[in-house]
Symmetry: C6
Subunit: 76 residues, 6 copies
Amino acid sequence: MENWLNSLFTETPQDGFELAIKLSRMGVKYTQPTKEILKKGREQYGEDAQFLITASHVIATNFRTIADTNNYWLTA
Amino acid sequence: MENWLNSLFTETPQDGFELAIKLSRMGVKYTQPTKEILKKGREQYGEDAQFLITASHVIATNFRTIADTNNYWLTA
Amino acid sequence: MENWLNSLFTETPQDGFELAIKLSRMGVKYTQPTKEILKKGREQYGEDAQFLITASHVIATNFRTIADTNNYWLTA
Amino acid sequence: MENWLNSLFTETPQDGFELAIKLSRMGVKYTQPTKEILKKGREQYGEDAQFLITASHVIATNFRTIADTNNYWLTA
Amino acid sequence: MENWLNSLFTETPQDGFELAIKLSRMGVKYTQPTKEILKKGREQYGEDAQFLITASHVIATNFRTIADTNNYWLTA
Amino acid sequence: MENWLNSLFTETPQDGFELAIKLSRMGVKYTQPTKEILKKGREQYGEDAQFLITASHVIATNFRTIADTNNYWLTA
């Protein structure tokens, strides 16, 4: 895998949330590296509310880690 | 994406809970940005108890992060 | 939404557990604010063990936040 | 609800694990207080592996809270 | 239940991971104590990927508690 | 089981994320040690979006533990 994660620090909470999304997607990509399959799955499940809310749960879990890292962006 | 998250600090626990809801919804919206699909999903699944309780779980996970940020609103 | 959450502090662990239940229910209510739909869902799913155990998971997640807030009720 | 939770402190890790089980069950019981329905559900789902592993997840989440409370039973 | 959990301390991270597996299994066993039913369930679901990944989630949750206990095996 | 986990410390966040993936896979492998069954399951479920997003959740949970261990790679 190419280099994609050098730091958990971000400038703003929103940047941190978007990094959490990236981690969540990379967790999927490492588990299923074939691009075509991923794309097909996204088309099928992107309309499924249970899938979407679970995706949001994964993002929340990763965001917790990133928010801790950044001391909740106390000086922001 | 427009600017939507500048701070995890809120004045009251209830404001924090409502911010947790916003984070949970944004996790869904980033995963499925098409408004019409989201609306259709909400109509279908808004009556599904398993979906609703999972949504509450995501909110709880985000609320934990926000409560930590605000030191549990100790002075509230 | 009316004012419903002023503090995460409670006198006893049991009060804290019951507040965790309230947070879990409010997470559902914010996601589906229509009372009649909620009532129908509760009738359908209140007998479903998978729903009940997931509800207990949400409560556990919220209880963690509240127990931390109250320093685990160290003087109780 | 009668008084059932006075403290999160236990003497041993195993006592703490068993208290975590109690919290997990009470989360179910508060959500569905009718005893007959609970009993029927337990008969139906007690053989379902997905239910059992989810129950174990709830216990793990509650155990974390209790282990923190007891400082991981450092003197045990 | 016999005595099965005296301490959350382990010598190595791998021992801690294996203790996390034990806690996860005990969570199932307390919920369904009948051995024959457990064995049948394991045969049915041991091939189900959704069950296996959920089991891994429970282990991850318990491992977090044990890693905290052992201060992440800092001297290892 | 052979020796496979000596330390939770890694040089970079990405190495930590990849170790989180390894822990998630080992949680599956301990639960279902038969290689052929695991391979069959991976073929069947590797295209299932709900499975993939749950796998990403397990990775997120393990990554939290590893990020804590490494003090969020503060000097990275």
